[in-house]
């Protein structure tokens, strides 16, 4: 193996200076540039860290600028910007709310509700999903009931939840749970069903018992879909939480936002929205990172590294 491997590079090196000009002549400047990767390639610049950061900053700046211009000049073309706070108003309101702990407490309460609801849904959804995906009898017994409840949006549960649960707090967590539950359940079931049958046969032929099959084949095999479910579930959990807080809440960032509207403190509405956006983003990032940590085998194939 050694001689041809050593010969190959020298071969190509000696050849390229002779060939390259011809190629350039045929393909034209831009294509030749891409081949040589020499002066400037938009693709490789985009793939570099600086390019991404620069374009990202530009994109956010454009949003802020349009927001500023629209509110500064009180734009009115069917969409009315008359009462919309300017970015500066919101900045002042950030400084304002941070004088007391009230705002942070609201955030803390919302985060706690989301996490309780979400983790509850994750545990119940994944366990049920694996059972339903793996055992036909269990599926036949539970799926009809699940399908009955699935089309009901979590928010539609608000009045019922208030009646069902002893405290307002638990009913909000329950609604958040419901929002996250179905996406996690459905994706887990799908993930278990997608596992190639040959892997089960391989495991059995290597002496695996049912417990081992669940542990080493079903769970890792479904993990990719489970994480899809968790990501979607987290999104729906926030939607459900904010709606529940706005309707029935005391405290929480959804409540804060709605209260700001009632109290005509418009900058706080924008602040609430931005806060919700940032929290949602952080949560989805957290899931993204944990999925990468949990599945080190994903994206390692040659050329698939991201």
């Amino acid at each position: 193996m050694a001689p041809p491997a050593a010969a190959a590079p020298s071969h190509s090196v000696s050849r390229s200076p002779v060939r390259q000009p011809k190629l350039e002549a045929i393909q034209g400047g831009a294509a030749a540039g891409a081949v040589n990767a020499a002066p400037f390639s938009l693709k490789s610049w985009l793939e570099s860290g600086i390019g991404t950061a620069l374009l990202g900053t530009l994109s956010i700046s454009l949003v802020l600028l349009s927001w500023y211009l629209a509110t500064r000049y009180k734009l009115d073309f069917y969409v009315r910007f008359g009462n919309i706070p300017t970015p500066m108003d919101v900045w002042h309101s950030i400084l304002e709310v941070n004088r007391s702990t009230k705002f942070l407490v609201n955030i803390g309460i919302s985060v706690r509700r989301v996490l309780l609801g979400f983790f509850g849904a994750a545990v119940v959804g994944v366990v049920l999903g694996i059972m339903i995906g793996r055992y036909r009898i269990f599926r036949a017994m539970t799926m009809p009931a699940m399908e009955l409840f699935r089309p009901i949006p979590a928010i539609a549960w608000v009045p019922m939840a208030i009646m069902l649960w002893p405290s307002n707090e638990i009913s909000i967590v329950f609604i958040t749970f419901l929002g996250a539950f179905f996406p996690i359940l459905i994706n887990t079931i799908h993930g278990v069903e997608e596992i190639d049958d040959v892997l089960f046969r391989a495991a059995h032929s290597l002496g695996a018992k049912e417990k081992d099959v669940i542990l080493y084949v079903v769970i890792p095999g479904a993990l990719q879909h489970i994480f899809t479910g968790l990501a979607v579930g987290m999104g729906v959990a926030w939607v459900s939480l904010i709606a529940a807080e706005m309707i029935s809440g005391q405290f929480g960032i959804g409540y804060f936002t709605w209260e700001a509207y009632s109290l005509i403190s418009y900058p706080d509405i924008a602040l609430g929205m931005i806060t919700i956006g940032v929290l949602g983003l952080l949560c989805s990032k957290a899931i993204n990172i944990s999925s990468k940590l949990a599945m080190p085998w994903m994206g390692v194939a040659a050329g698939a590294r991201k």
Partner: protein, 290 residues
Amino acid sequence: MSTQSLAAQSGHIEVRDLNISFKARGETVQAVKSVSLNVQPGEFVSLIGPSGCGKSTLMNAVAGFTKSNSGVLTLDGKRIDGPGSDRGVVFQQYSLFPWMTVRKNVEFGLKMKNISPAQRETQARTLLGLAGLLAFEHHYPSQLSGGMKQRVGIVRALATSPQVLLMDEPFGALDSQTRSVMQEILTNMWQRLRLSVLFITHDIEEAIFLSDRIYVMTARPGRIKAEIKVPLPRPRTPDMMDTPEFATMIRSIKKLIREESLAAMGSELSDGGYGGLSMEIGPEGVAHVL
């Protein structure tokens, strides 16, 4: 590897009057019909036949994945009634666990036997070293080529020191160059380990090159049409494939298979009525061709 050479006395597969049928779209299909065959301890036996002839079904029954309707199916005199690590299986599709590294895949069977992690590691690394895969022990299957995946698959099946290796068209998905290299690797490994192998293929040259004996199966319902002894000496080398002997054997098996493939196609064309064309089939049971 000393346990392997001791185990050469075991690994005797006996199949007698085996019938397997299954239901497909409400109809009962007989996949395997009164098949009798055997694999002696330490023998390399191939099962060859037209596609859809039930050879995979037969292997699945030996592996314990499929239940038979009637007949006898034993390994060393013990009835086979489920999969187990006494029979290593190499599948046609890549069957490595994508979430385990190469070494963890190889260790899996040992882990199921509750062997200590340190011992698992030593054994897995020894086997991977023999197969020339030690440099890839920390790779995931998705990082390997098709040939390497199948080599890991074979190593994994051998890790638990089974008495029998069942291989279901293991090189079917590989390109022809990789395929012939894999055949050489396999025959060398078998030469060293001397365990019983039941090898399913539709590649005649592959069957001759690897086997001590070849069973030719009929079109569905699969029956044994012929049993052929391969007189080539051991150890086998690729240049044996260029001998006139080899060519003669290919021709005679090709003829047998061709008849069956025609019968199979005829049965499809005439909507299941294979009676007419399969009349060519010789005496019931085993015919010695050579």
